[in-house]
């Protein structure tokens, strides 16, 4: 009788260990987490523009090099092309339309010449000056995007080349702003 009692006590003890383990699992599995989630207001649909052209933000002699003009949206109908040109009227330039940089951006301060070259690839082959009028009397094209394309069929890579400076030139940061004309033209 005593043996049986001891055996039963031990069996109950062993089973209780297992039961404890199962109970812990069971408790974890059914744990309820309440969280009040408030869905954000749906954003307004973006305005419908025909195209979005990305231009370099600023030009300084500290950040020269090759910059790109890209398009992130282009819904022009076929037969049209998006053309980007240099606008000397609103750019910092001299009377010839050649691009200039001014010390600390002050148009009355010391200036530094800086030509703009346009390329159709990053290898910089067959570059053309952008800040001049071409033989037709029109401004040279900086980039051209065919209908529906965000990749330029011409241009798209600009290089800003500052002049070497001159003796006595004041050191510092020279800043200029480029203004572009963006228009839709008929192909051909």
């Amino acid at each position: 009788m005593k043996k049986t009692f001891i055996a039963l006590v031990l069996i109950v003890a062993m089973l209780s260990l297992s039961a404890t383990a199962y109970a812990e699992n069971e408790t974890s599995a059914t744990m309820t987490v309440n969280y009040e989630f408030t869905a954000p207001e749906p954003p307004d649909p973006p305005p419908t523009s025909t195209y979005v052209v990305n231009i370099p933000s600023s030009i300084t002699n500290d950040s020269m090099g090759l910059v790109e003009i890209t398009a992130s949206e282009n819904t022009l109908p076929s037969g049209k092309i998006l053309v980007v040109t240099y606008d000397p009227l609103y750019s910092t330039c001299n009377s010839n339309g050649h691009f200039r940089l001014y010390k600390d951006g002050d148009p009355l301060g010391p200036e530094l010449g800086c030509r703009i070259l346009v390329y159709s690839n990053s290898e910089k082959t067959q570059g053309k000056y952008l800040d001049v009028y071409n033989s037709d009397g029109k401004q040279e094209v900086a980039a051209a995007f065919p209908a529906g394309s965000t990749t330029p069929s011409y241009g798209g890579f600009l290089e800003f080349v500052p002049s070497a400076g001159y003796p006595g030139m004041i050191s510092g940061t020279y800043i200029g702003t480029v203004h572009f004309n963006i228009e839709v033209r008929d192909v051909g």
């Binding site: 069996i11 370099p56 203004h179």
Partner: protein
Amino acid sequence: MPGRRLDDPEVEEKISPPGLHWLVEKCALILFCTIEKKGASFVMKNNFIIMAGVTLFAVVVVLGCVIVGAMLLGKNSAPAAANTGGSSEAPEDDVLIRAPDTIAIPGYAQLVMKAGELLQDVELYNPEGNPCYFIISIALPDGTEIFKSSPIKAGEKTDVIRLLQPVKAGTYEGAVMRYSCFSASDDTPMNGANTKFTLEVVK
């Protein structure tokens, strides 16, 4: 593995905590074998004390493991709860703060306005992510400025604009929308653009 003892730290590591249950079962087995031996009441009594102690120890260890595990679980789930604490903002580490080096200029092939009215339903906007604010002006092909906006920050838009003067009905090809861009951080002028479009003014 010959020569490896039970008190070897590696062995102990392997049997704990799952080994506790196994240990109790083994002990119970030994006890069952022991109590079957006749005339061994003294041994059985000792075994009973040992087994009871082992069982009690095992229960304490298991309960301790359960409590520690529950505490660790609580610690792990705490940051997750904090992350979903009612805010839609991304965690600080995920935010990439970097000034973009381009300005996105939106353009339109055509805009429609109402003749003779100053208030016009025209949507102008500054794309999200631009490093600048826009001042947008609209001019007729002859250069007459008919609208100039207040500063429009990146991500903002206007639904209605107020013209400087009413416009007569007609089609104005080559109207200009000028984007003057200024740094959002120090108001210095940045590169900008003119976009040409066809302005349809209807009665």
